[in-house]
Amino acid sequence: MTIMADTGAHPLRADGLHLSFGNVQVLTDVSIFLEPGRITGLIGPNGAGKTSLFNCLTGLYRPKRGRISFGDIQLEDLPPNRRANLGISRSFQHMALSADLSVLENVMVGLTLSRTTGWVGAFLPLPASRTESVAANRKAMSALASLGIASAAMMTPAELPPGTLRLVEIARAMVCEPRALLLDEPAAGLNAVETRDLMRALQRLIHPGLVVVVVEHDMDLIMQLCDQIYVLSAGRVIAYGSPQEVRRDPEVIRIYLGDPDD
């Protein structure tokens, strides 16, 4: 199981997604086109369906109708692990770190698919497995360092504040050098300094072959960071465009002014 060797740039797109739980319609005819080399923002009030859309893209939810593709590959029928195999990586809104693992080890989990040590190497200290483990260690360490949290590497999640854990979550999503990176509220719980570090890290990370999508409530971050923005409300895409265009969109203004809590 290795990540696809091909490193070309592929867009991630969804066409006409419908998702419902029982009688609750969560997504209605959602179509998005995520270009490689650009950072896309996904905003909208609480309950607009942003995380559900993420879950559809990564395979945790199965949409009722609609198509999802990554380059030429259709994703609808692939389970989450196969999509991960294609280089689609994500962070979780509710932090999903293991309390038994150190921060560094949690990040190393992101490298699972790119590592090849077999079961024999899992139990015996073979030279090959040791080399691989050292390399994984180094990669994870530099992912942590790029987010400014290298000093937390050997601690356990229980010892760290939520802001740092958020960054660990992001480090794990980007450590495997994904081709599509989906970040679910990466700046929630971060202070101003951490948010700035995060933004710089993401700007450094972006390259022509990488799709980045960010769900976020921090408007300043979104407006500064993103090249294009989709606005979701009640399960529908209601606006799309550059930050300037979206900021001027009357529908968006109505939603955000009408619901000042968001």
Partner: protein, 325 residues
């Protein structure tokens, strides 16, 4: 970047210190166990050999608890696989432990996979219930396949691998060596790609899927490793006690393995294994006069340790909250 390098170095050192302390403890215990046969003999040596076998059994349950968060009350099934593998290999082919041990490992892996595959989606209570059925099915299978297993009476294990060394001594040292190797392998697993993946799958199964780790793979893998370990424990048990019979593989012996695992706090180290094994071996031996008290004692230990662990985690949570308002 130099900041990062420094941080790494500092933390490596700090962690290394802690590791050294733990390793020192385990090494001291190992030295003691290595030297013991020169001091004591006879019955105690035999008891300790059984203790090593039980330690492997308790570790196998601990592995399941640690890496998948599930309990099994059917592990005597896998212990029996290993024990009977040794006995049958000797009876049919005249082979001794060192040759039948790999067979026991393979049988354990196969048995683990065969049981875990249909139950790979089950969790918690459902898995516990199916392992209970597994434990209760075992004695009737053993008793009614008399030709192979020797039925009620069971089989004898008399061969030893080294003809010129005293039997007692080789039983002791071979059992100890197998236990130590198993503990080293478990330590290696903890840091391996698979070990990290399994622990992540335990903590957040759906998040783990996003990193390519499927639940089915995690369940089947943990069960296969755990069953192989239990099977090795069974092989050592047969070798140490020189008999196998269905009496030693009941639902209660499965639950006892869980007791051994719980009293060693489900840890996967040599000292923890020895504690678990000793609890299972020494308590009945030294309470032989009060044999009927054993289940009560074990039950009380199970409840007490569980409640204490819960209490301790509550206190830790409280302290953490106070530290970070």
């Amino acid at each position: 970047m130099s900041d990062m390098a420094q941080a790494t170095k500092r933390l490596r050192l700090a962690r290394g210190g802690l590791l050294d302390l733990r390793n020192l403890g385990a090494a001291a215990l190992l030295c003691l166990l290595l030297a013991l046969p020169f001091v004591v003999g006879g019955f105690l040596l035999y008891t300790l050999t059984l203790c090593f076998a039980n330690a492997l059994g308790a570790l196998s349950v601990s592995l399941l608890v640690r890496y998948s968060g599930e309990v099994s009350i059917g592990h005597s099934f896998f212990v029996a696989l290993g024990a009977y593998a040794v006995a049958i290999m000797e009876k049919q082919f005249g082979l001794s432990l060192l040759l039948s041990l790999p067979v026991a490992v393979l049988l354990g892996i196969a048995g683990g996979i065969i049981f875990a595959y249909p139950s790979r989606r089950l969790s918690g209570i459902y898995l516990a219930v199916s392992t209970m059925a597994l434990a209760l099915a075992l004695p009737e299978i053993l008793v009614h396949s008399e030709k192979v297993t020797g039925g009620f009476e069971g089989l004898y294990v008399t061969l030893v691998p080294l003809p010129s060394v005293a039997k007692e001594l080789q039983r002791y040292y071979i059992a100890l060596a197998i236990l130590v190797v198993a503990c080293l392998a478990l330590a290696q697993l903890r840091g391996s790609r698979q070990g990290l993946a399994l622990l992540m799958a335990r903590a957040h199964p759906s998040a783990a899927e996003a990193f390519g780790i499927t639940r089915g793979w995690a369940r089947v893998s943990v069960f296969a490793i755990s069953a192989a370990l239990a099977s090795v424990g069974g092989a050592v048990m047969a070798f140490a006690s020189s008999t196998v019979s269905p009496n030693s593989f009941t639902l209660w012996s499965s639950i006892f393995l869980l007791v051994g695992s719980v009293v060693s706090l489900n840890r996967l180290t040599l000292p923890a294994g020895i504690i678990g094994g000793a609890f299972l071996t020494l308590v009945p031996n030294y309470l032989a006069s009060a044999g009927d008290w054993v289940p009560i004692l074990y039950g009380a230990a199970l409840v007490a340790v569980t409640l204490c662990v819960n209490c301790a985690s509550d206190i830790r949570l409280l302290l953490a909250r106070r530290e970070r308002p």
